[in-house]
Symmetry: C2
Subunit: 423 residues, 2 copies
């Protein structure tokens, strides 16, 4: 079933960052991999089953590189505070509920179902400190057909009693057990090490996580340089660290041997950025979250020009929606306000750039993902924009651009991940 042809209006980001549009063309999937896009179907594929998508749009699936699954339950609520107060007032009490597997079952079921219905084909996700609930989340994600990395969160300090692990050892033991339980269990769902952020983790815990990452070859995700109060707190906690990212790096949690994602990087300085570039750290740019929590706006187009690895993220529930098109539009808008209000040296994000980071930028974390190029894994979203009315004919490119601002899960006609049709 993983060998087939789709016919339709095909759009994706080329390596050079521009959007390629192929009206009324063929894209071939062979054994779950893309074999290419063709104006006329080559003879060698003539016998493959063909689905004619008519006038619909075919785009690569979108990658969301930072989501808090337990926060999905309060998306759109409680966004009247900055980060640290928001964590204590809304986030931590909600996350503590996932000690209850019944609650987790209900809440994570809703989350996985909505993620499946969204534009997202690949996701990197925070759970909570609770290993059983996190494993349950992984089971639900595996059932969804989406490819994901999921983290049991580590927290052993500066957190309320009801959401803190007993000590570093207890946290590490539970994490190692959870890695062993899950690392080979699923086809599409993998564990990722997830220290919440420096303030929540003792040095001992971070050091242990670095060892687990090396030993089990597990990637790492965390938060970095999101908010001024947070950055100041890290400075006070670790006065020796040269910069925030250095506090991860000294424990082997900042890319290099194992892939690493750092969410936000709104206020990263030159040294931090240089090290991220050296280590190949992925930046999960979370514009809706950074707007909602008044954190600021990362200079994304500059990061891209500097050759950093930039991906896009919903960051639910700092962000209020899983709709990655809305996140793209939010990224563009935020970059325009940054340009106008703060710094005209950094250009606003273009539509091409926003689509690039939402597809290829984040896809790179998963390997060859995010484009219809030979050898890329076949992730595809089929969009039916026929209900978005317009008084006259539009170019394919205009239709695509319009989808970024106007479409949502209503307009998804089908969704493929690794060549499997999951919607």
């Amino acid at each position: 079933m993983k060998d087939f042809v789709l016919k339709g209006n095909i759009c994706f980001s080329a390596k050079d960052g521009t959007i390629e549009c192929h009206p009324n063309s063929y894209v071939v999937c062979e054994d779950g991999l893309c074999a290419g896009v063709f104006e006329r179907l080559p003879e060698q594929y003539a016998n493959l089953p063909l689905t004619d998508c008519g006038d619909q749009l075919l785009i690569p699936g979108l990658s969301d590189l930072h989501i808090h699954a337990p926060q999905f339950s309060f998306r759109g609520l409680g966004m009247d505070m900055e980060l640290l107060d928001w964590l204590n007032t809304y986030t931590f009490p909600e996350e503590s509920k996932y000690a209850d597997l019944g609650y987790a079952d209900r809440a994570y079921g809703q989350f996985a179902s909505q993620l499946k219905s969204s534009l997202t084909t690949r996701a990197v996700i925070f759970g909570t400190i609770h290993a059983p609930a996190t494993t349950l989340l992984m089971e639900k994600l595996e059932d969804s057909g989406i490819v994901s990395y999921v983290g049991k969160v580590n927290m052993d300090r500066n957190s309320p009693d009801y959401l803190r692990e007993a000590d570093a050892k207890a946290s590490l033991d539970a994490t190692e057990q959870w890695i062993c339980d899950t690392c080979s269990r699923f086809a599409n769902t993998h564990p990722i090490l997830t220290p919440r952020f420096v303030p929540s983790c003792t040095d001992e815990l971070l050091a242990g996580l670095g060892r687990l990452s090396e030993q089990y070859k597990i990637p790492v995700q965390s938060h970095l340089s999101e908010n001024y109060g947070e950055i100041q707190w890290v400075k006070e906690l670790l006065p020796d660290a040269k910069f925030y990212g250095d506090a991860y790096d000294r424990f082997g949690l900042f890319g290099g041997a194992q892939p690493c994602i750092m969410a936000h990087c709104v206020h990263s300085g030159e040294e931090e950025l240089a090290l991220m570039k050296e280590r190949g750290v992925f930046i999960a740019h979370s514009p809706l979250s950074n707007s909602n929590l008044a954190s600021g706006v990362a200079p994304v187009s500059q990061y891209m020009e500097q050759g950093l690895r930039v991906a896009l993220a919903s960051d639910v529930a700092g962000g209020d929606t899983l709709n990655m098109f809305a996140v793209m539009a939010g990224a563009i808008r935020a970059s325009k306000l940054r340009w106008r209000l703060l710094d005209q040296e950094v250009k606003p994000l273009s539509v091409d750039q926003a689509f690039y980071i939402a597809t290829r930028g984040g896809g790179e974390f998963f390997g060859k993902v995010g484009a219809f190029e030979p050898g890329y894994e076949f992730d595809c979203v089929v969009l039916d924009d026929s209900t978005i009315v317009h008084p006259q004919e539009l170019s394919l490119r205009a239709r695509l651009d319009r989808c970024f601002y106007l479409s949502d899960d209503r307009h998804i006609a089908a969704k493929y991940v690794r060549g499997n049709k999951i919607l």
Copy 2:
């Protein structure tokens, strides 16, 4: 049919700016006016027909005080420029098509249909320079049941040949004729004088429009202090004007005798604001448009504290959506970035404030509109949020807040304008 009772979860902004929530209560409509909200239905209304909305939310209809109907056709497209280039490249060519009544019929039909399906119950709208198309738009809006003011646009300079009236006299004659044709023709649709903006109108034209406003008692709408390039251009065109708004005021087009709406006011100075306050000019705050076109962010909470009349607006197609909840969320986000990036003296807009300007703020332009208080016109949107999943029970206020970020026309179960059920 204009006397009835609705039962449900009732929310609206009180005069003091806070949101009142009345779970499981009654709101009474008598002859198209609200008679009040009651926990128990008073005996005197016991015989009125009652609709039980169950667990749904009842809110006042939203007012959108600045929309360009002809630009609806390219919402979500072409937002890679600032205002003046955007006008010349995208907007003016599109608006010229409305010389063709066939095109106008198709495009305005789509616009009116979408506006009817939206949260908006009251709107103030720009047409184009073409009187026949603008009258057609008014007919379609009248059919929709929405209450609106609609403007035939005036432009007699600094516009391309294909979208410029021959001279001031021709523009004024056509406008006066259009006023006479439409001012008494509709129950819910009214003409409003609409000089596009100072750069598009000669002094002679502005002076004539001021006379028409006085003679026919017609309100006025235009644009003000949106973009730096525009403001500079106005200075060069009218070096004697004390500030941009003064260029309207000297011709009687800046409030006072007749109501006036000025869109944007992103960069208004103290003198301009003082005159707006004196004249009761409504500010149509257009946050999505001001973000999309990189114009900036108006200090809205400060305007509200200063006692200015602030309303909310989609400004399609500078803004990309008619969904006024999305505009509210965009206003809050933009205000947070303004606070973070530019000026911590001006507080971010709260959810309560955003709802206030979207209901009462804009409603005031239409009289007693935008609240469930005795004597207010009965505009109501019934929201069914049951498909927005949540793992646990939420307070009514939390459900309302969540709707602002997560709901759209899918969640509208019914809509009333002046006591008429239009959806």
